[in-house]
């Protein structure tokens, strides 16, 4: 579904991603782990069209999406729930959700999706006309995910959804991710919480200084003693 080939991305002179290749097949949950500054966020932002690659290809459903503006990429079915949530705190929760559906023309579908989101995250419905900035961190994360689902993506990019959340909420978020996959959304998940992420994902990539160093089925990676020591913070 998504195929990244030999991707390189730089901020000015700083090269953040170099020669990175990665594939996500339809229906998979794919995890990307890696230390701070490894280039995970940069990769996702490039897929979303916010950053332009210096070299490499990004194919979505077999077609190149490099050079397309972000809104065109959203329309094709890729949605991005960014690191740090980036909800619009001065707008209401309903408005945040509506903005997630900014490029959709089917008003009725948007309305029913909104109901679906409220069903999935009841706390959002209770507070739907309040400013999103008044939500707690965990609630904001749910709003961010809900907002990104409002565009009806077939591929969802999730950047560190469990960051800074209490264990119970982390569980809830991972449950949601699994549920989404069961509903047919393909997921590319970036996580520091690698242990949990590997448990729910099919395959995984380890990123180091902008490139893939290890890849394989999650079950293999989770049991690799070297990886466990180096990246998973276990043992």
């Amino acid at each position: 579904m998504l195929e990244i080939r030999n991707l390189s991305v730089a901020y000015g002179k700083i090269v953040a991603v170099s020669d990175l290749s990665l594939t996500v097949n339809e229906g998979e949950i794919v995890t990307v782990v890696g230390g701070n500054g490894a280039g995970k966020t940069t990769t996702l932002r490039t897929v979303s069209g916010v950053l332009k690659p210096r070299a490499g290809e990004i194919l979505f459903k077999g077609q190149s999406i490099v050079g397309l503006p972000p809104e065109a990429i959203v329309t094709r079915g890729i949605s991005h729930s960014p690191e740090g949530r980036m909800i619009f705190g001065r707008l209401t929760i309903t408005e945040n959700l509506k903005l997630g559906a900014y490029n959709r023309k089917d008003a009725a579908g948007v309305k029913s999706d909104m109901e679906r989101m409220f069903g999935m995250f009841p706390v959002l419905e209770q507070r739907k006309s309040q400013r999103a900035g008044t939500l707690s961190g965990g609630e904001q994360q749910m709003l961010a995910i809900a907002r990104s689902l409002m565009s009806r993506p077939t591929l969802l990019l999730l950047d560190e959804p469990s960051l800074g959340l209490a264990p119970l909420l982390v569980e809830k978020i991972f449950d949601v991710v699994v549920e989404l996959r069961n509903e047919g959304v393909t997921i590319l998940l970036v996580e520091q919480n690698a242990n949990e992420a590997l448990r729910i994902s099919d395959r995984a990539y380890v990123l180091e200084t902008g490139t893939v160093t290890v890849e394989g089925p999650s079950t293999e990676l989770i049991n690799d003693p070297k990886l466990r020591a180096a990246y998973l913070g276990l043992d």
Partner: protein
């Protein structure tokens, strides 16, 4: 000093303040999204005044057109400026945008000089608009009344649009976090374009009002009011439309008050007074009255 004199000054201050408010709205919307001080904004007002003067001098045209046509034309003009000069600078350091807007300001001023003349020209309203009405000793012109009405109506319409429409929502989102707006697929160029169109339209209206008040227009008339309107936007809290309106009105009243209530030898310092106010506000309350965004501090 009679109560009538005070009220009279208040009327004059409100009239000037209304014009600042119209200008400040455009500046605050653009600054909110792009972090750009559009130094050319006042020059768009000047163009509005010139367009308006064409229709004012043709007496057969109803006065409404002398307001409406500059409003529409300057809206288009603002969009052209955005797309040609500012859009290529997305992501550039803010200083590059600032310098560009100074360049655009110069370009507009001197194009007007070239196309018309550097000399000021008279702008005279049809007689009945300048006729004064005496209400309990306070003199209003019909123009004053028209100014207030126009400003209030435009303000209400704009607020409704920003708060209710999809584009308005996108503008607010872009103003809060441009990166996030882009990332989730909002067409931010559309939102930016809308901010320029709406803001410039108001500048076009302001051009008519300013010229009507002072009766004279010249190619360089817009720069200082434009910068003062930015001061008003800062006083109100940059990024906030309500702040721009309140800041504009306060600044107009303060400026007229400064001239009206201090001995005449101070009146030459009115511009200095405005900018001293700016400095005080920036230091004491940098977010202004309603500001949500913060001043970048060292």
């Amino acid at each position: 000093m009679t109560i009538n004199y005070i009220l009279q000054q208040l009327v004059n201050g409100l009239a000037l303040g209304s014009i600042y408010a119209l200008l400040a709205i455009g500046l605050t919307m653009v600054y909110g999204i792009l972090r750009l001080i559009n130094f050319a904004h006042g020059d768009l007002m000047m163009l509005g005044a010139y367009v308006s003067s064409i229709f004012i001098s043709a007496t057969v045209v109803p006065i409404l057109l002398a307001v409406l046509i500059p409003t529409l034309l300057i809206a288009v003009m603002g969009l052209i400026v955005e797309r040609t000069a500012y859009k290529p600078l997305r992501g550039a350091p803010e200083v590059a945008m600032l310098i560009t807007s100074l360049g655009v300001s110069r370009l507009i001023q001197n194009s007007t000089v070239l196309a018309l003349s550097p000399q000021p020209r008279a702008f005279s309203l049809p007689g009945d608009l300048t006729k004064t009405v005496n209400v309990g000793g306070i003199r209003f012109t019909q123009l004053d009344v028209l100014t207030f009405l126009l400003v209030i109506v435009l303000m209400v319409l704009l607020t409704l649009y920003i708060n209710r429409s999809k584009t308005g929502m996108a503008m607010r989102a872009s103003s809060e976090n441009l990166q996030a707006a882009r990332l989730i697929g909002i067409n931010v160029n559309w939102a930016i374009g809308a901010a320029f169109v709406l803001g410039s339209a108001l500048a076009g209206t302001a051009g008519f009002l300013w010229a009507s008040r002072y009766g004279i227009i010249d190619p360089f008339m817009g720069f200082l009011p434009g910068v003062k309107a930015f001061v008003a936007a800062v006083i109100g809290g940059i990024g906030s439309i309500r702040g721009a309106v309140v800041g504009g009105v306060l600044l107009g009243v303060a400026e007229i008050g400064f001239v009206g209530f201090l001995p005449p030898e101070f009146s030459g310092y009115r511009d200095a007074f405005v900018f001293s106010l700016l400095l005080i506000v920036l230091l004491v309350r940098p977010n202004g009255l309603f500001g949500a965004s913060e001043v970048e501090r060292a």
